[in-house]
C-alpha cells in the first residue's frame, strides 16, 4: 500500500518528527514511513530576506519522492517564504503529493518567549493536519477551531483545535473510502 513519507530537511529535533509521525498515524489510514533526512537545497536561501524559499524545498521533495509515496511531508526548522508573502507556516500542493511544514515560527522562542515543549507539539500537530489536509483536497475552513482554518499569525494557530471539524473530517473519510490513497 502506498504510504505517507516523512522527511526532515536540515536539522530537526528527533522528538518533533516523532510527534508528527504520531499525529499523521492518528488521522491518515496508510503506512507512515520515514525517509533519510535531506539537507536544505542550495539556492533556497534568500539572503535579502534571511529566509528560505518554500518552493525550492518542495521541488526537492518531489525529486526525492519514493515510487510508492502517496504523500511526502517535509519538516524543517528554517523560516519559509514565497515571493509574495513575508512568511509561511507551511505549504502544500493542493490535492497533490507534496507538503512542507516549518517549525520555525511555532517555537515560543521565535516570539522572544521561553520555550514550551507541549505548545510546540500542539502547534506542529495542527500545522501538519492543515498542510496534509490540503494535499487531500481540503480547502480553508470557516470554523476557526478546525485545523483547516486559515492561520495568518500564531494566535490563530493557537485558537485551532488539534483536529478537523466534522465537515472537513467527513470529507477526508469519504475521500479515503472512495479512492485508493
Amino acid at each position: 500500500m502506498n504510504g505517507l513519507y516523512l522527511v526532515a530537511i536540515g536539522g530537526v529535533p528527533a522528538k518533533a518528527l516523532e510527534w508528527i509521525e504520531n499525529t499523521a498515524a492518528e488521522w491518515f489510514p496508510m503506512p507512515i514511513r520515514r525517509l533519510p533526512p535531506l539537507s536544505i537545497p542550495e539556492g533556497a536561501y534568500d539572503a535579502k530576506r534571511g529566509q528560505y524559499q518554500s518552493v525550492e524545498l518542495m521541488k526537492m521533495l518531489a525529486q526525492n519522492a519514493p515510487r510508492d509515496a502517496s504523500r511526502v511531508l517535509g519538516v524543517t526548522d528554517v523560516d519559509l517564504e514565497i515571493p509574495m508573502l513575508s512568511f509561511l507556516f507551511g505549504q502544500a500542493q493542493f490535492d497533490g503529493p507534496i507538503a512542507v511544514v516549518s517549525l520555525c515560527r511555532l517555537h515560543q522562542e521565535f516570539y522572544g518567549l521561553p520555550p514550551e515543549e507541549s505548545l510546540l507539539r500542539e502547534r506542529a500537530a495542527k500545522e501538519v493536519l492543515h498542510e496534509l489536509g490540503h494535499t487531500f483536497g481540503l480547502v480553508h475552513c470557516a470554523d476557526s477551531k478546525c485545523a483547516m482554518s486559515l492561520a495568518t499569525h500564531i494566535e490563530l494557530v493557537d485558537a485551532k483545535a488539534e483536529q478537523y471539524c466534522t465537515h472537513c473530517g467527513m470529507q477526508l473519510v469519504q475521500r479515503f473510502a472512495s479512492r485508493e490513497e
Binding site: R49, Q53, S54, V55, E81, I82, P83, M84, L85, S86, F87, L88, Q91, A92, Q93, F94, H134, V139, H140, L150, T152, H153
Partner: protein, 451 residues
C-alpha cells in the same frame, strides 16, 4: 462559493505566479496564472475574473499598468490589485489613479492579503446583490406592472410616465387599496430619480411629535431618549422621492412645517439650529377629499395647493370591473407560486362572482380574497365554491331581490319595515328612511298604515 470568484495572477516570475496561485487555491479559489500581459488578456477574454493581481514590473512587452488598463477595458468589473516592490510604490500609486483598486508591496503579510481579498469579494457580493435587488425592484414597479385595461387607468399610467422626471409635487387620491403607493413607485422608478432612494412614510400611524422626528430627524438631546443625532425621512430620501401616505391626517403644526419644506426645500431637525437642505420630490396620497377638508378648515389651503400641483385620482375597483379578471389571474399566479401551492387558475364562474362583488377594500381586498381562496382550495383550480363566503358577505350587505311591485307598494313596505325595525318609534323610523317626521305622518295617512 469561492469558485464563483475566479482570480488571475499576472507575473513574469514563475515562482511568484505559482506560489501565489497555490496559496489562493488552498483558500478554495479558482486561480489562473499568466507570465505576461498578452497571455493575461487572452485569459481575461475567456473568463470573468473577479480579481486580477498584476505585477507592476514586467520586462519586455506590456508592463503592469498597460496590462491593467487593457484588462479593465475587457473586464470593467474586475478589481485589479497591483503588486509592487518598495522601490516602485510611487508608480503603484499612479496605477491606482489609473483605476487599480489596491496595491500591495511584496512580500506582504499573509493576513494582509487574505483580508484584502475577502474585503474586495465582500464588496463584490454586495454589489451584485444590490444589482439584483435593484433590477427586481424596478421590475416590480415598472408602470406596466400595474395591471389594467381600463381607459382611465391607462390615462393615469401615461401621466405617470410624462411626469416621472419632473420634480413637481404629486397628489394621489383614491380609496384605500386602490394602489396609491404602487402609482407613486411607478412615478419614481420611471424617472431620473430611479437610482436614488424611495422613502415611504405613513402619516396616519404616528403622533404629532413622533411623526415630526421621523420626518425631520432630531439632534442629540432634542428630547429624552435622543441619544444621538438621527436623520429623518426627508434626509434619507435626499436626491430621490418621499412618499407621504395619508397626508390628510397630519396636524396643523406639521402642515405648517411641511409647507415650509415644500416652499424652500429646507428644514430644521427637531432640536436643531442648523438648516438642512434637501433635494426631494414629494408624492403625497390621501383617501380623503382634501378640498372638502380645506373648506372645513381642517387642512391648510396653501398646503393643499402646494401639494396638488399634479393630481392623480385613482378609480375604485368597482369602477374598473373589467380589470377584476386580469388582476385575479395575476394574483392567482403570483400568490400560488409564493405560497408554493399548485393552483392553475380560476374558473369563469368564479370570475363572475368576483366581477359582481363591490370591493369596498379595492385591489388590496381582491388580493387578500384570492390568497384566502388559494389557501383553502382543494382541487388545483379556484371555482365559485371557493368564494361562497364572499357572496354571503356581500348578500348580507347589499344583495336583495327587488320585488316585482309598484313604486307605491315598495314605499309602503319600506315604511312598514322601518317602523317594525324601530319598534314603532316614528322619530327613529323617519330618520332611517331619510325623511322628516311630518312627511312620514303624511305617508302613513296616505298608505293607510295603522300606527
Amino acid at each position: 462559493m469561492k469558485k464563483n470568484w475566479p482570480i488571475l495572477v499576472v507575473d513574469d516570475e514563475d515562482v511568484m505566479c505559482e506560489s501565489m496561485a497555490a496559496w489562493l487555491r488552498e483558500d478554495g479559489y479558482h486561480v489562473d496564472t499568466a507570465p505576461n500581459g498578452q497571455k493575461a488578456l487572452e485569459l481575461a477574454k475567456a473568463m470573468d475574473y473577479a480579481i486580477c493581481f498584476v505585477d507592476l514590473k514586467m520586462p519586455g512587452g506590456m508592463d503592469g499598468i498597460e496590462t491593467m488598463m487593457e484588462i479593465h477595458r475587457i473586464r470593467p468589473e474586475a478589481s485589479i490589485i497591483i503588486i509592487t516592490a518598495y522601490a516602485t510604490v510611487d508608480t503603484a500609486i499612479q496605477a491606482m489613479k489609473e483605476g487599480a483598486q489596491e496595491y500591495i508591496v511584496k512580500p506582504c503579510n499573509p493576513q494582509e492579503i487574505s483580508m484584502l481579498v475577502s474585503r474586495i469579494l465582500k464588496l463584490k457580493k454586495l454589489q451584485s446583490e444590490n444589482a439584483i435587488l435593484r433590477k427586481k425592484l424596478t421590475r416590480q414597479y415598472r408602470h406596466h406592472d400595474i395591471i389594467t385595461k381600463n381607459p382611465r387607468m391607462e390615462e393615469i399610467l401615461a401621466l405617470t410616465q410624462d411626469i416621472a422626471s419632473l420634480r413637481s409635487t404629486v397628489l394621489i387620491r383614491g380609496e384605500s387599496g386602490t394602489g396609491k403607493e404602487l402609482v407613486a413607485r411607478a412615478v419614481h422608478f420611471s424617472g431620473n430619480r430611479a437610482e436614488k432612494p424611495f422613502v415611504v412614510m405613513s402619516c396616519a400611524a404616528l403622533t404629532e411629535t413622533l411623526l415630526e422626528s421621523e420626518l425631520f430627524g432630531y439632534e442629540k438631546g432634542a428630547f429624552t431618549g435622543a441619544a444621538a443625532q438621527a436623520k429623518g425621512k426627508f434626509e434619507m430620501a435626499n436626491g430621490g422621492t418621499i412618499f407621504l401616505d395619508e397626508i390628510g391626517d397630519i396636524s396643523p403644526k406639521l402642515q405648517a412645517d411641511l409647507l415650509r419644506v415644500l416652499q424652500e426645500r429646507r428644514f430644521y431637525r427637531v432640536g436643531g439650529t442648523q438648516e438642512v437642505e434637501v433635494d426631494v420630490r414629494i408624492i403625497a396620497a390621501t383617501n380623503k377629499n382634501l378640498a372638502e377638508e380645506v373648506q372645513q378648515a381642517r387642512f391648510r389651503e396653501d398646503l393643499y395647493y402646494r401639494l396638488n400641483v399634479i393630481e392623480i385620482r385613482l378609480p375604485p375597483l368597482r369602477e374598473r370591473r373589467e380589470d377584476v379578471p386580469l388582476l385575479a389571474e395575476h394574483f392567482v399566479h403570483h400568490i400560488s407560486s409564493a405560497l408554493g401551492r399548485e393552483v392553475s387558475g380560476i374558473s369563469a364562474a368564479a370570475l363572475k362572482v368576483l366581477i359582481a362583488y363591490d370591493w369596498p377594500g379595492n385591489v388590496r381586498e381582491l388580493e387578500n380574497v384570492i390568497e384566502r381562496a388559494i389557501v383553502t382550495c382543494r382541487n388545483g383550480m379556484l371555482d365559485e365554491h371557493d368564494f361562497t363566503w364572499l357572496q354571503q358577505n356581500a348578500g348580507a350587505q347589499q344583495n336583495w331581490e327587488v320585488p316585482d311591485v309598484s313604486l307605491d307598494d315598495l314605499e309602503r313596505r319600506a315604511i312598514i319595515a322601518a317602523l317594525e325595525r324601530k319598534h314603532g318609534n316614528v322619530k327613529e323610523a323617519s330618520a332611517a328612511l331619510g325623511i322628516d317626521r311630518s312627511t312620514l305622518y303624511d305617508k302613513l295617512k296616505r298608505y293607510e298604515i295603522v300606527h
